[in-house]
Symmetry: C2
Subunit: 437 residues, 2 copies
């Protein structure tokens, strides 16, 4: 049974605090093993990668066969049914159109002191995307990671995707092709992250690594962070639905279950002022659960981490949502924009009952890589900016330096940084001796 909470109950503050404190992520300590794998790949390169792949993926590779050839990709893609090709192409086009609007602008201006200031954005040169094998091998995630990188202008874009027993996912290869990925390596685990971070004879190092992975991949990403950039380490994901009670309870039940079916530590929460609706959704969830293929997973998630919170009104619902800072927030109310305007922390907002969260997972356009476990309080979903960096620009004229240089000299002196002050003073002295150039 999920947790039932009512904000009018005397013990609500305590119970809600306990609910917020519930840890959903399993502490899977792969760190020690990962440290050894990273060091081994850093030292022995291709040979180490090939050995680990033989051991864990039961796949014999050579330096020449680490990457799929274009012909291999062509052959795999040819198996994909036309309906799936079309759906993936539609998703790619919509994701590309959305992310193209995120391209930041350079700026340059001259200020009243005569100083020319600004900044400029440049893409990361090379990026590597990790795509898990097995159950969590999602072609949609390939699009969500690769397309922002391509839109950003990343020159070299590669994927590492393990193929246990040599079994590749044709849809992953198709998504890579649609997104414009240059090379797909059939390697995974910490050894793949190591190859991307340190480089080997056959796999050139990248500057940024993104994409989800198991505990080994997550630990490896943490360890190589600093040498390369990484995206956030994803925790268990969640959905929160705010509903006023005028939506079909079955729709909301399916939206909750579409989060719960991801894995047993996922979390689905309904917040509503309508107690009758709360009961109806709970019943609809049980009904739908019986018919789902993944009912074991979705049922465990709903039982252990699911919650229905009844509130006084929509204002209170928004406040509760902000305490949770959900990855996905669905607002099924008469005026969803009015509720959204009062929300401060959410990874993505889905407005109105006609916008099921699943649309955002595939074809909406916005990215589905979003901050989990409350990190929407301080971070954002994946975007084009994650594959770019900003360089600030400053150019002084002799006049500008004369105007603001003395203040810099004063502050340098107060911070006991003498050479800083002298570097300004030497130039100001020249100006005092000679007319400005």
């Amino acid at each position: 049974m999920p947790t039932f909470l009512d904000t009018s109950a005397d013990d609500f503050p305590t119970r809600f605090r306990e609910f917020l404190a519930t840890r959903r992520d399993v502490e899977d300590d792969a760190d020690a093993a990962v440290a050894g794998i990273l060091a081994d790949v850093a030292t022995r390169g291709d040979a180490a990668v090939i050995e680990y792949t033989a051991r864990w993926d039961r796949l014999t590779l050579t330096p020449e066969s680490l990457a799929f050839t274009a012909a291999e990709i062509d052959a795999a893609i040819a198996e994909v049914p036309a309906a799936e090709v079309e759906a993936l192409a539609l998703a790619a086009a919509r994701i590309r159109a959305y992310h193209e609007r995120q391209l930041p602008e350079d700026l340059r201006w001259t200020d009243p002191a005569g100083a020319e200031l600004g900044w400029r954005w440049t893409p990361v040169s090379a990026a590597g995307l990790y795509v898990p094998g097995g159950l969590a091998s999602y072609p949609s995630s390939v699009l969500m990671n690769a397309i922002p990188a391509r839109v950003a202008g990343v020159e070299r874009l590669v994927i590492c995707a393990p193929t246990p027993d040599g079994k590749a996912n044709p849809l992953v290869l198709l998504a890579a092709r649609l997104a414009g990925v240059d090379t797909v390596y059939r390697i995974g685990g910490a050894q793949a992250i190591a190859a991307l971070a340190y480089g080997t004879r056959s796999i050139a190092a990248v500057d940024k690594i993104t994409g989800p992975g198991n505990a080994f991949v997550a630990a490896a990403k943490r360890r190589v962070f600093g040498r390369v950039g990484i995206d956030m380490i994803a925790g268990p994901s969640e959905i929160l639905v705010i509903a006023d009670g005028d939506t079909d309870p079955d729709w909301v039940a399916l939206d909750l279950l579409s989060q719960a079916e991801h894995d047993e530590s996922a979390q689905a929460i309904l917040v509503t002022p309508d107690r009758g609706f709360a009961t109806a959704v709970a019943a609809a969830v049980e009904r739908r659960l019986e018919t789902l293929e993944r009912r074991a997973i979705a049922g465990a998630s709903w039982r252990d981490f699911g919650a229905i919170i009844t509130v006084a009104d929509l204002a209170e619902a928004a406040a509760i949502s902000d305490r949770i800072a959900p990855e996905h927030l669905e607002i099924c109310t008469a005026d969803p924009d009015a509720v959204a305007a009062t929300i401060r922390h959410a990874g993505a907002i889905f407005l109105g009952a006609w916008t099921p969260e699943a649309i955002g997972d595939y074809v909406g356009g916005p990215n589905h890589v979003l901050p989990t476990s409350g990190s929407a309080r301080f971070s954002s979903g994946l975007s084009v900016l994650d594959f770019m960096k900003r360089t600030t620009l400053a150019r002084m004229t002799p006049g500008a330096l004369a105007a603001i240089g003395p203040a810099a000299e004063t502050l340098a002196t107060s911070e006991s940084l003498q050479a800083h002050g002298l570097s300004v003073r030497a130039r100001l002295d020249r100006l005092n001796r000679e007319p400005a150039p």
Copy 2:
């Protein structure tokens, strides 16, 4: 003696690779001690913070005296000489003006399918800035961290700054006042980071922690990352000067030394096609070094990590710079913009001989918190965006869902996520039964 390299030498590729591989950061492993401190503060709150402060800062505090009072700040500020007040105020105004231009725009549009899409930026609710005590207690860093947070719209902005033996830095308090910081706590070390991350009875938790610190502070920030956001962990910093030889060698020597004087692991590099100029700068550095108060520090940095690289031309200079991806890049050439246009990786660029890097440390306007140790390949300096997060927005109409929903259903099915597909299908079925609402 610094390293001398010439790109035309046969062994240049090898020697340059070795130079790039030189590690400058001391591995100071404070992690085990820090884990204990974090756990202690999480459990015992104020009492633990007060005990650690008594032990390490030799300062007896109570929950009531953890923060400076307004009267204490007033009294400290009254000691600051007028010239320093003015200089700091000028710096604050210029930094604010620059960062105000970084405020991102919200966007919302309707696409051809009838889907309303967009995003919106909101500030982090509460941020905590760490300010080191002792030698590295820089008021300029207070401005550089606090002003972007305030411009972003952070509601609650606090500082933790240790005051060993009760000695506060009046300029730090003045900078906090000028930047609009709400509260300054006189605590430091891992215990301060713990208080900011977990909260205590007297110190409310924040969502984001930024600012430099020693090995204990850095280790604590790494450990609380995920629960709160953090900025990058700063490594030893560096400057690279590209000069065509027409600048006063003494100016360039001072610019190199203004980096070297920060600490012994800082790095200063000159890249020039003019061998005579290289020799002149090397001589000027030695001359200036003799007169510097911090000559022990600056001398060690220049000796151990400094470098002069002679190149064929400015194009090669730019390529060398990109291999290093320096935190600060100064371009002292006849047409600095032309060189800058060929640079891909740098934290900040200072254009022309009249723009010493020290201007950027204090009064230029751009932020002086910049990516170090080559991380400019994939990351940016501190900005207003570091104190904001983006929420994506999507709103389907029945028509939009009818247009793109079937593709989502197809992809959900291909990824074996049945409830995802059903959440779309249940709505499409309604549309097929009834006219669109």
